[in-house]
Amino acid sequence: MNYSDLFKVAFKSLLANKRRSLLTMIGIVIGIASVITIIALGNGVKQKMISEFKTSNSGEQTTQITFSGKEDSTQGFTTSDIAKIKQQFSKQLTQVKFKKDSSDISVSDVSVGNATLSGTVTLLKKPMPNSKLKYGHNLTQSDLDLNQKVILLSSDYAKKIYKYSQNAIGTAVIINGISYKVKGIYKSESYTKYSANFLVSKKTYYAGKKMDQSNTLKLTVAKGNGASSVTKKVVKYLKKHGENRHLGSYSYFDEGAILKSISTIMDVLTYFISAIAGISLFIAGIGVMNMMYISVSERTQEIGIRLAVGATQKNILWQFLLEAVMLTVSGGITGFLIGWGISSVISLAIPYHIHAVVTFSNFLLAFGVSSAVGIIFGILPATQASKRNLIDILR
């Protein structure tokens, strides 16, 4: 009797009792599904942490300090701040830079038509999707790359000045002394980078502009130094010595720490749910054992016939063991798929864009655990089946 025959026989006997097999499987499905769900979410958190802490190959990490001024237009960091930080933290930091802001930059003294107003600018590296354009033409990639002095205006903003927003097309907008020609009108959308009043090419905006002030500072922490502790020290230093310390406050948003605490919670949760799943699997395993014992006693005749026509005890043992394992493994795989589904749905509902991640080793875990349950709880009934006394059966 080869293995494919054994599989076929086992499959057939499971199908012969569909309802019983399905009910017995449920426990395994629940156990495996819950473990896979929590593991997939845990994986997601870990992956998120890795991508957030973009550790470069040399072991450097970058962090950001932001300045929030009491007045909107205040730019917090100055070149002298950078010089001081560089001097003070020369060992821990390899680089200190202004970060070029690119969205919702506040600008004042903008002249649009006859009016002088303030507004917000978002800088583009890639063209806006055409679907957002309302009138006129969109900025093209070559507009962005070739320093074309063209601009897009949000329709709300244009309406305020020209009454009909399409009238704005072709007029000039002067920002920071540079005159831009209005090429098109777009629909602004809140909570995206298209919520600003103007869209301009990033290259054009910063062209010829010397950065001497910014609201964001980018630090590169040298290898072997804790990124968050160094950054915290820098913040502390700035609070004492920063040039604009009286005009606003410095803050370091430690996303890593938050993710780390989520990850710790996930770890605890994983242990907790694994323990519950373990109990579930244990009970399910006893269910499997129970079912197998019933099956063995129901099929005493079959065992006798098989032994009489030449099956060895080993053949019988394998047949029943395989039945138990097939039952638990199909439960395990079903549970794996369900867990995958559940974790994907849950990940839609949790913040920080954590995606459920299922790896091949998770599959192996589900497969391994369920087959182990099958073997552990199937071996006793299978042994009992194979040890049946042939003469007693056939009498």
Binding site: N2, K12, G304, V309, G310, I391, R395
Partner: protein, 226 residues
Amino acid sequence: MISLKNINKYYKQGEQEVHILHDITLDIQQGEFVGIMGQSGSGKSTLINIIGFLDREYKGDYVFKEDNIVHYTNKKFTYLRNKNVGFVFQNFKLINNLSVAENVALPLMYAGVKKKEVTQRVSEVLEKVGLGGYEKSIPSQLSGGQQQRVSIARAIVGNPTFLIADEPTGALDSQTSAEIMALFKQLNTLNHTTIIIVTHDPNVGKQMDRLLTILDGRLISDTEGE
């Protein structure tokens, strides 16, 4: 071919030890058509279990094809059974969730015969017992006589050295009984298969070439048939 010498068999029944077979000595040659008769409880089933390699807990010697099998290992013993004996039981003993063809194929499957050969051989054998074309049927759809034919097909599919039939007509009406007996006779004359049939029906016993009678665990007569 089959040679039993001084076989004694004891049963433990509670505290008591029952002596079920007394000094059975008997030889059966290749191609014989043998009947074993006796009342229920006489020990005839016990005897054929021993002859058919199902039971090996007895005292005495069993020489099969000039080989004393008393000292065989379990594995070798199972192999011996698979290769040499075909069983036909009173209540057919077919596996109900398998098709006719799968039931008949069982001995070949356990013997490790290739699938193609199995299919071919099963069809041949079913044809021989008059059930050609019934491969895909389920045993419960068949009549008693047909089920017994399936059981015979299963017994002969592996070309065994001898067949053992325990009350093969016990659950059948007289018309079907006659058909089944004719089939056994045909197998014996055409294929020279050794056949051992256990019965308590004197009408069946009469049709045998040789008739052994057992009473209270003792072989009391060994006669040539008419």
